[in-house]
Each structure stands twice: as C-alpha cells, then as structure tokens.
C-alpha cells in the first residue's frame, strides 16, 4: 500500500502531494499540507467543521478520500481571506463578535461563502438552511445570521 500522488488545485495554486490511500481530504489538507483551518469535529459529516469547497461547492472534507479530489479545485478558509485582507464575511464575523471558541467558525464561513456565491441575496430562511450543516455550540447562531446577512448586503429580517 504505497502512497499515491495527488495532483489538484488548492487555494488557486497547483499542488502535488503524497497521500495515503486512506487519507481523507481533510487529513491531506491538515496533516500533509499544514492547512489546519478546516477542523475535524465529528469525522462523519454531521458537524460541518471540516467544510471546504471542491469546485466551488461546499463539502464535508472528512467524508471524501484525498485521492477523490484529484484534478479538482479545493478552497479552504486559508484561501478565502487573510488577516489584514479579510473576506467580507470574515470581516462581518469579527465586527459582530461572532466567534467564541472559534472551532466551528472556518466551516461556517466556508458554508456561508458558498451560499452567497450561489445566492447573493438569501432570505433569513435560506441562510439558516445554508449553514444548517454546521453545528455551533457557543453562539446560538443569531450573530452569525446578522453577520452573513450584512455581508450579503441584505437588511436584517425576522422570521414571522
């Protein structure tokens, strides 16, 4: 069982990395490439902390083998914005005081970024479903909703 060569694009740059056949995409990003922004909260796709984009779609990177990303384009939180040059979502999350423990935050932001890319002006309901795959235990989601709504440029509304 030799390591395999994974060729793909990560955060807009071509990458070639040796992975084990049983490495998940999350393992490869974190352990082989040092991209530790995506987190493992459950390993079974039930928490969303590992969310990255594959070909611009949000996926649970703990449920994908690394080699299944061959030839595809992957974006992690590290490829969204940087301190000093934050993505609008990241900026809104900071200003609204969203992060507490912070463990879920990279996954939530990646899910929200995918939602806004597909649907630039989502309703409150659409935002709620857009991040429903991301469990957060600290915030109760309310400030997340406000931050995402603001980043989308839509007025903050209530569900009636």
């Amino acid at each position: 069982m030799a390591k395999q060569v994974l060729n793909f694009t990560v955060n807009d740059e071509p990458a070639e990395v040796l992975v084990q056949p049983w490495d998940t995409l999350l393992d490869a990003l974190r352990e082989r490439m040092g991209l530790t922004g995506p987190k493992e909260g459950c390993g079974t796709g039930d928490c969303g902390a590992c969310t990255v984009h594959v070909d611009e779609k949000p996926v649970a990177s703990c449920l994908l083998l690394a080699m299944q990303a061959r030839g595809h384009s992957v974006r992690t939180i590290e490829g969204l914005g940087k301190p000093g040059a934050l993505h609008p979502l990241q900026d809104a999350f900071v200003r609204h005081g969203v992060p507490q423990c912070g463990f879920c935050i990279p996954g939530v932001i990646m899910a929200a970024a995918a939602l806004l890319a597909e649907n630039p002006h989502p309703t409150e309901e659409e935002i709620r479903y857009g991040i429903a795959g991301n469990l957060c235990r600290c915030t109760g989601y309310t400030k997340m909703l406000a931050a995402i709504t603001e980043a989308a440029g839509a007025p903050v509304g209530r569900r009636s």
């Binding site: 998940t24 796709g45 996926v59 080699m67």
Partner: protein, 288 residues
C-alpha cells in the same frame, strides 16, 4: 481509518475489471457519506476500495422526450434536488434528495450510494418505489435490470453480487396527470435521518385515480409499498375521506421496530400522518 488499497478506475469497463480482480470484501466508494463513517468506526475493514468518482457515465442524468429518466448512480443528492428535469416530473425524488444530511453532505452523497447502502431509512428509496424505477446493474456477465422493489433483500443487503455495480436508475415518465410527494419526519429540520419516510405518487385519469403508489421507509427491514392502500385508491375519485382511509391502510404495511430514533407506535402514527399529507400533496400536484 484502517489501511486499504485504493483503486481509481477511469471508466465503467475498468471498474468492472477491477471489481472482478479485487478481494470479495472490497467496497465501492461513491460519495462516501455512508461508507466512510463505517470504515472509520471499524464496522467495515475492506482490503480494497474502488473509487467511482472517475467514471463520467455514472454522473449523467438523461431525460429523453417522454422516455423517462436515467439517473447515473453517482449523481449527487444535491443534483437531484436542483435538476430541472428531475423537479419537473419526478418531484418526490428531488424532495428526497433535498432532505439528505446537509448541503455539505448532499454535494457528496449519491443516489446509488443511498440505494446500495440499503439502510431501511434511505430517503431516496420510497420515491423510486413510488415511481416504479428499475435498477440497471452491470458486471462481468453484462447488464441486467431489476425492479427497485426487488433490489433490497434485507437491512444493508441488496441483489448486487460482489462483482456487480449499480450503473443507473431508469424511471418511467409518470405523465402529465401524475403528481408525487415525499415527506419524512425528523426531530431536526436538517442534518437528520428519517424516523419514517413516505412517498406517494398519484396518476389521474377522468377525475379518478388511475394509478397509486405509496412507499414507506424506516418501518421495515427494506423500503416497502403499501399495496392495500394503493388498491383502495385506484379506480376511485380521491376525496379527503378516501385519503384518510388509505392512510389507515398504509399503517398495515408497516412492520416497524422501536429503536433510538423512534418507537414502533410513533412510527405507525407517523405512517398515517405522512401518508395522508403526501397523498394530499400528490393529488394537488397531479391535478395542477
């Protein structure tokens, strides 16, 4: 996860060959949303895993003019949820795709995976049963077709031989006077698994029910049709009272167990409620 060999076929032929050569406990990997948790928990310890993601044919959807729908086994739940052709005539299937996991999971989870994993709670099974789908299977001896109702043989068991794979689902067009609906009950709105799922499909002719299909998930070892309820509807004008009676009859098709997701009593109760609701919606859609 324990170690295994990973094979990456680039075509259906390569895959069939790889499968024939691989050890008997090898596993086919599609979206991974069911398989990887089982590998991680040590429930499965295969020596070899064959990845289907490099086979374009398995990801295609074809909706010929009036010829019905052919959905590749590696088409994702998210694609079913959003695809125009699926939504146009096979809405219950789109609805079931929309309910799986979360968007991160739906972008991975596949129709074939949901069916071949053969969990009693598989969301996509009831719509396929209600739509009279056929499973197209290939192997070293060539292709064969199996009605979806005969595809499941038990909890996590199917008719697939170890050297076979599911290529696609062929679904006849139910026609313009037909409507379908899939509902399930879960304690949460997303990121959950069906306590009970019900798909109904009603086809009308001259104001009467020409054909009725009701299929249930998570109330028996395999997805089942509620045939007595279907028969009560066929040939009749579908009224609220008749729907109520059909819902009562559907309960008789359920043989639920009690487990951590729900008691047998609650499951029977839900079959009645969800059958009534899906039939009501299916009727409205058939008439629209």
């Amino acid at each position: 996860m324990r170690r295994f060999e990973l094979v990456l076929p680039g075509s259906l032929d390569e895959c069939v060959k790889a499968l024939a050569q691989a050890p008997a406990d090898s596993k086919l990997l599609a979206g991974g949303t069911d398989l990887l948790p089982q590998l991680k928990n040590g429930l499965l310890k295969p020596a070899c895993v064959i990845d289907l993601s490099g086979i374009p044919r398995l990801r295609s959807i074809e909706a010929g003019n009036g010829q019905g729908l052919r959905v590749g086994s590696a088409v994702t739940a998210r694609t079913l949820e959003l695809d125009r052709a699926v939504r146009a005539n096979y809405l219950s299937l789109a609805e079931s795709g929309a309910l799986v996991g979360s968007v991160q999971v739906r972008n991975l989870a596949t129709l074939g995976g949901n069916i071949c994993n053969a969990a009693p709670s598989a969301d996509m099974a009831p719509p396929l049963l209600a739509l009279d789908a056929e499973a197209v299977i290939t192997g070293p001896k060539g292709e064969r077709r199996v009605p979806i109702a005969a595809f499941f043989t038990g909890v996590r068991r199917t008719v697939l031989a170890p050297d076979e794979l599911l290529v696609e689902l062929a679904i006849p067009n139910p026609g313009s006077h037909s409507g379908g609906s899939y509902l399930r009950h879960t304690p949460r709105r997303e990121l959950d698994i069906a306590v009970v799922g019900v798909a109904s499909q009603l086809t009308l002719a001259n104001g009467r029910c020409a054909k009725a299909r009701i299929a249930l998930a998570a109330v028996a070892p395999v997805p089942v049709r509620a045939t007595a309820a279907e028969q009560a509807l066929e040939g009749q004008a579908v009224t609220p009272d008749l729907i109520k009676r059909a819902a009562d009859l559907a309960v008789e098709a359920a043989r639920p167990i009690s487990d951590q997701r729900g008691s047998a009593d609650f499951r029977r109760h839900l079959v009645r409620v969800l059958t009534r609701r899906t039939l009501t919606t299916a009727l409205a859609r058939a008439g629209a």
